[in-house]
């Protein structure tokens, strides 16, 4: 491709795009870059009464404190574990769901299923956790079914055991987001050239072979981009769901970095340590994205930068 100099005609033709780009840039500066000044707090013994300008600087003391705290290491583990599990499951389920939906013959049925499946996305977590709490309670539908079919003799107390917590969170995420995440893949699938399917059919490909050799390669760029972006989000394993579903018994596996920040930064009033934990999270996210992007580049795949 040859690059040519930008002239006024181009600018004029793209004025809408330029306008949006400018708006988003300004937004980014105001809401994403300017607040970074607050990172100063992490290097201070910040007190609201003295403010950012007059608080005492303590260097890396807050970071040292942070990493010598066993419970912080534990929340990193929890966040990473839940982040990776959630990413893997929701990612896989969304692709699977999109492909299955695409294979549905009935147009109407497809629309109905699609609409129903992405509705949970619009529910807030407080409602989803409320439903989960009811469904998984001693007299809830799950335990009633398990008892009915004789799978257990006593109702399982799902929220009292550490081993159930991560799977419950993963399940909730899948239930809530699969339909929504699948939309992008469905969009990608519809833009695959139909002649490819026809050609495949002529070559004797069945359904399975078409999925494998046409659909999947067709949406591969989308998959790669989404994977890259989501990897950076691994440490955003969630806040609401763990906060709302957690209790004293499972706190060892339920607390995430965000909850830690809330607890020490806001509740205990140590804004510095909260900020330090937040910085740590951002740094890890950037490192992860760079690594994955590099890997993608190396394998000649679609990438972010």
């Amino acid at each position: 491709m040859k690059t040519k100099a930008i002239n006024m005609v181009d600018l004029k033709r793209q004025k809408v795009l330029i306008f949006w780009a400018a708006a988003i840039t300004i937004y980014g500066i105001i809401f994403n870059y300017l607040p970074l000044a607050g990172w100063l707090m992490a290097f201070q013994n910040y007190k609201p009464v003295t403010g950012l300008l007059h608080s005492q600087f303590v260097g890396l003391a807050k970071f040292k404190l942070l990493f010598s705290d066993v419970s912080f290491l534990r929340v990193i583990r929890n966040t990473l574990a839940m982040g990776v599990i959630n990413l893997a499951v929701t990612f896989f389920m969304a692709i699977l769901f999109a492909i299955l939906l695409n294979e549905m013959a009935s147009k109407g049925g497809k629309k109905v299923v699609q609409t129903i499946s992405y509705l949970p996305h619009f529910l807030s977590w407080i409602i989803v956790t409320g439903i989960l709490h009811d469904a998984l309670s001693g007299t809830g539908i799950i335990n009633t079914l398990l008892l009915h079919f004789g799978a257990v003799t006593q109702p399982i107390n799902f929220f009292a055991h550490e081993k159930y917590f991560w799977p419950i969170v993963a399940f909730a995420n899948v239930w809530k987001e699969t339909g929504w995440n699948a939309i992008i893949y469905l969009a990608a699938i519809t833009s695959i050239d139909p002649s490819l399917y026809e050609a495949a059919a002529i070559d004797g490909a069945g359904r399975w072979a078409k999925i494998k050799h046409v659909t999947l390669p067709g949406i591969k760029p989308t998959i790669m981009i989404l994977l890259l972006m989501n990897v950076g989000n691994v440490l955003n394993a969630g806040f609401e769901i763990q906060y709302l579903l957690g209790n004293g018994l499972v706190q060892n596996v339920s607390q995430t970095i965000d909850i830690y920040v809330l607890k020490w930064g806001i509740s205990q009033g140590d804004y510095s340590i909260g900020t330090a934990a937040g910085i740590f999270k951002s740094v890890v996210a950037i490192v992860l994205i760079v690594i994955c992007n590099h890997l993608a580049k190396k394998h000649g795949e679609e990438r972010l930068f």
């Binding site: 609201p48 009464v49 009292a160 990608a188 209790n247 004293g248 018994l249 509740s267 205990q268 009033g269």
Partner: protein
């Protein structure tokens, strides 16, 4: 192009998700509305229910005092989280009650010092003695908040036991012929026997929950602090104070604590303790209480009475004996119990404060002063004469059964009643020398309002009030209660850090201990984790505070 679309879409959704989290600024000030009424805002860091905007009594008070306060309450957060968020935002409502976050508000410089104003307002001045005002001074020597509760005017008129106890439904006691219940063993034997004979409620299908434990966040006192009461000590809350030696004792590690949790463990294995105890939320707990299924529990009266008990009354379950009475339980027979203490408790750790965002401090304080006038106080806690209560020939206030019924009705409360419940208030006797400051202290009115099963129960035990079910004691000493200090601890001190960690460990291990297959092993694990929190740091800071309080008190003798 298609790829661009995808990334544009992603970008938009990403940006949209970043919008969340921006708080909205709170309007503030004491601005005057079109009716000439000053309007203030207030935030209370406790859960509560908002009243309707056109609430009738609020309107009457506004006409009389020229002021109105829009109250908001805690929802779904802890007090510290809510307060921390306010501090981070830097904008406050006019009035605030910070609960456990009060110290943080003070440290953030968010509160107005009240000392210079107090003398100008006679009702506020009268509200505390000099000694009590001095107890409220913070480290900089100023007074920032006014505790609202347990202030007794004139003679004390306590009918309800507004504190913690082992509660049991009246129907259980009636079935057993009102036996004497003094120990945990007797209490659980009774519940077990009743539940075996009557596994369901009167409808024959709803199964009973013999014993449940509320364990949600800060409300886990229902599980954790019983050992201090079982040993016959009063509610110092975070520790025991030996009144003879004036030494602070940790109630978490006493022999009584072991016995108490072992008993719970046994009952859990027998299926008497509700298996959902440790995972239920406060709302789920209240729903259980309201259904009348729960035979017994430990709780503070105020924690379930105005929600659970009121619901029991509304549903007519009170006539089936589903209301609760407290029992004087100790670890051994024949010990003196101090579940109930007479006299007011000055909780110096928090109270109503005015923030630096308030533009009309004098107007705000004038309103607080007016709320303590007898006629306004009657409006707050009795209601409108002729509508909510009647005055007898002897000058005593009383209510008809219909009035009592509507007073417990949620919709009526929201539309009509406005007690400004987190503003300073009195209990005890009214300035007329006859009536009680609040309706629940009016003896005859209290007794007439009781359901038949409760009346019969009181009669059987020779009690006239809830308090007489337990007996009462004087407050043990000038230090009492110590929880007003532990509530203000922050992680800035080793003791405060220990206190926070102890809380975390107890939240995690106490349920485990109760559910353990092998109690001894579970207890050992708990003690190992507990001792790693350095509870001795906490105890030594409490000891220092105890000594400080004794010295302060000595100055006034």
């Amino acid at each position: 192009m298609k790829k661009k679309m995808v990334s544009a879409l992603l970008l938009t959704s990403m940006l949209a998700s970043m919008f969340s989290g921006c708080g909205k600024a709170q309007a503030s000030g004491g601005a005057v509305n079109e009716d000439g009424i000053k309007e203030f805002t207030a935030f209370f860091a406790v859960p509560g229910s908002e009243i309707n905007d056109d609430n009738e009594i609020q309107q009457i008070i506004a006409e009389k005092t020229g002021c109105k306060v829009k109250e908001t309450w805690l929802t779904g957060q802890t007090a510290e989280e809510a307060v921390g968020t306010l501090i981070a935002g830097g904008e406050y409502p006019d009035f605030i009650e910070g609960g456990n976050g009060s110290k943080q508000l003070y440290e953030a410089g968010a509160l107005v010092a009240l000392d210079d104003y107090i003398d100008k307002y006679p009702n506020i001045k009268e509200y505390f003695t000099e000694q009590e005002w001095d107890q409220l001074r913070q480290s900089d020597g100023h007074i920032y908040w006014i505790p609202q509760f347990s202030n007794i005017y004139g003679q004390e008129r306590a009918c309800t036991h507004n504190d913690e106890a082992f509660w049991i439904q009246a129907r259980v006691l009636e079935w057993a012929g009102y036996p004497k219940v003094e120990t945990m063993d007797e209490y659980f034997d009774l519940i077990e026997a009743y539940n075996e004979a009557n596994p369901t409620m009167a409808d024959g299908t709803t199964t009973n929950i013999p014993y449940t434990i509320l364990c949600d966040d800060w409300r886990y006192f229902c599980l954790e602090n019983a050992p201090e009461f079982l040993d016959g000590y009063p509610n110092d809350g975070s520790c025991i104070v030996d009144p003879d030696t004036l030494k602070v004792i940790d109630y978490n590690t006493t022999d009584t604590a072991v016995k108490y949790f072992k008993k719970l463990n046994e009952e859990y294995k027998k299926g008497i303790v509700d298996p959902e105890s440790f995972t239920q939320t406060y709302d789920e707990y209240i729903a259980k209480i309201s259904s009348g299924r729960v035979l017994g529990m430990i709780d503070q009266w105020w924690d379930f009475a105005y929600t659970g008990e009121d619901a029991i009354k509304s549903a007519g379950l009170d006539e089936q004996g589903c209301q609760y009475v407290p029992l004087p339980i100790t670890i051994e027979k024949g010990m003196k119990n101090q579940w109930h203490n007479s006299g007011g408790v000055l909780n110096v750790s928090s109270g109503l404060a005015i923030t630096t965002s308030c533009k009309d401090v004098e107007g705000a304080l004038q309103f607080v002063n007016d709320l303590l006038d007898q006629d306004i106080h009657d409006l707050r806690f009795w209601g409108v004469e002729g509508e909510d209560y009647l005055v007898g020939d002897d000058g005593l206030y009383y209510r008809t059964p219909e009035m009592r019924k509507q007073a417990a009705d949620t919709a009526y409360k929201a539309a009509h009643t406005c007690s400004y419940s987190y503003f300073p208030q009195y209990s005890g006797t009214s300035r007329d020398g006859k009536n009680a400051m609040k309706s629940d202290g009016q003896e005859q009115e209290f007794f007439d309002g009781l359901s038949e099963p409760i009346k019969k129960c009181f009669e059987a035990y020779g009690a006239k009030t809830y308090v007489e079910m337990l007996g009462t004691s004087e407050k043990p000493g000038p230090w009492y209660p110590m929880y007003t200090y532990s509530n203000t601890l922050t992680t800035d001190t080793p003791g405060g850090t220990a206190w926070t960690k102890m809380g975390e460990i107890k939240h995690q291990y106490l349920p485990k201990v109760v559910m353990a297959d092998d109690f001894e092993k579970g207890w050992d694990e708990y003690m190992k984790a507990y001792n790693e929190c350095k509870p001795e740091d906490f105890i030594s800071e409490m000891q220092t505070e105890l000594e400080r309080r004794m010295e302060e008190a000595a100055k006034y003798e």
